[in-house]
């Protein structure tokens, strides 16, 4: 600590008072995601009172709940995107942000993920991918690599993992990116792009679990993971020129898909209601 009086990070004003330190394990990427998110909100000069955070169940769902100071809807496992869709339809002018984990969003929540992407609902979704079900003690997840031993794959994982970002892009997401918690500056930039994009924005954030997943893969600390991300990451511009073999085991980072101006779900729905209610006025029929 510096000899002069301690000053604290001004981004703390975005955190519910009295709640730091977070309950995250030491080195958990969730804390870094929270930090980057606060920075993104700050740089965009967004008013948190014009935002609503919707989360699911799991460690990553605790990133905004209770830490980020804004309206927060902490929902059931896997359904945050569905709850968020209901919120988004009934609010206009509020930014609806979903932050949850890979198990929550792509496992139990997979169906809601692909349909919201298909609809291109104007949501900002950050899926924090630590490749494990962390909160429950380290069970295999749909994102866990092959052969990894977890508490429920003690003899090795026989399932290949999802490439969730690609899944979302294929399903219809209109801003899709992947970054890791090593790429903090890029992540902030990407979060800003996601928050300002109108349509289904999705960032897969590869993030260390320094307890459950660390144990599974023989790492000891956040630094081990960050060094690994640094080494294995390859930017999309380079990845496009590489073969599948060369990309084996690599983490492709960057904006993987960006489509501006695609029809957005709530806009279409509002347009429909406006048109139909205007038409109803011009006839003389009653409800039936």
């Amino acid at each position: 600590m510096s000899a002069s009086e301690t000053k604290s990070n001004p981004l703390r004003r975005y955190v519910r008072p009295g709640l730091l330190p977070t309950i995250f394990c030491a080195g958990c990427g969730g804390g870094t995601v929270l930090n980057c998110f606060c920075r993104a909100v700050d740089e965009l000069e967004l008013d948190p009172r014009s935002m609503v955070m919707v989360t699911g169940i799991g460690c990553s769902s605790w990133i905004p709940s209770p830490y980020f100071l804004a309206d927060t809807l902490h929902t059931t496992h896997g359904r945050a995107i569905a709850f968020a869709t209901g919120v988004r339809v009934m609010t206009s002018g509020m930014k609806v942000v979903v932050i949850a984990g890979d198990g929550d969003i792509s496992g139990i929540g997979g169906n809601h993920l692909i349909h919201a992407a298909r609809r291109n609902v104007d949501l900002t979704v950050f899926m924090v991918n630590n490749s494990i079900y962390g909160m429950t003690g380290g069970q295999v997840a749909p994102t866990t690599p092959l052969d990894v031993t977890t508490t429920t794959t003690p003899h090795g994982n026989v399932e290949p993992p999802f490439d969730v970002a690609s899944l979302v892009a294929a399903a219809g997401g209109t801003y899709v990116a992947r970054w890791t918690t090593y790429h903090v500056f890029d992540l902030v930039k990407s979060m800003k792009a996601a928050l300002t994009h109108e349509g289904f924005s999705f960032i897969e954030i590869v993030s260390p679990c320094t307890t459950s997943y660390a144990k599974a893969v023989g790492k000891r600390s956040a630094a081990d993971f960050l060094a690994d991300y640094k080494e294995r990451s390859v930017r999309i511009s380079s990845a496009q020129k590489m073969s599948p073999e060369e990309l084996e085991g690599r983490i492709v980072v960057g904006a993987l898909k960006r489509v501006e101006g695609a029809p957005e779900f709530c806009q279409r729905l509002r347009g429909l209601t406006r048109r139909v209610s205007a038409e109803a006025l011009s006839t003389r029929e009653g409800a039936r």
Partner: protein, 82 residues
């Protein structure tokens, strides 16, 4: 604070603050910091962690990777008014 020898041109300097009350010694700042500003203290903080401590503040180049990467928002880097 150690006084460093003044170079030919005045160099900006930065104060690096680590909040001991939220730091849990995860080492992310140590990893990120190229110039080696941080180390992990050998003394327990009052919360029972070995927190990060500022070892070489004068080496700070204001990259702010530590500030942004810190999972507990424990770090703040501020330019010193000369």
């Amino acid at each position: 604070m150690t006084a460093s020898a003044k170079p030919k041109r005045a160099r900006r300097s930065y104060s690096v603050f680590v909040d001991d009350d939220v730091c849990d010694g995860c080492g992310v700042c140590v990893f990120f910091c190229k110039p080696g500003v941080f180390s992990i203290s050998r003394e327990l903080s009052r919360r029972g962690f070995f927190p990060a401590e500022v070892l070489q503040e004068e080496e700070c180049n204001n990259c702010r990777l530590c500030e942004l990467g810190c999972p507990q928002l424990a770090i703040y880097v501020e330019e010193r008014q000369s």
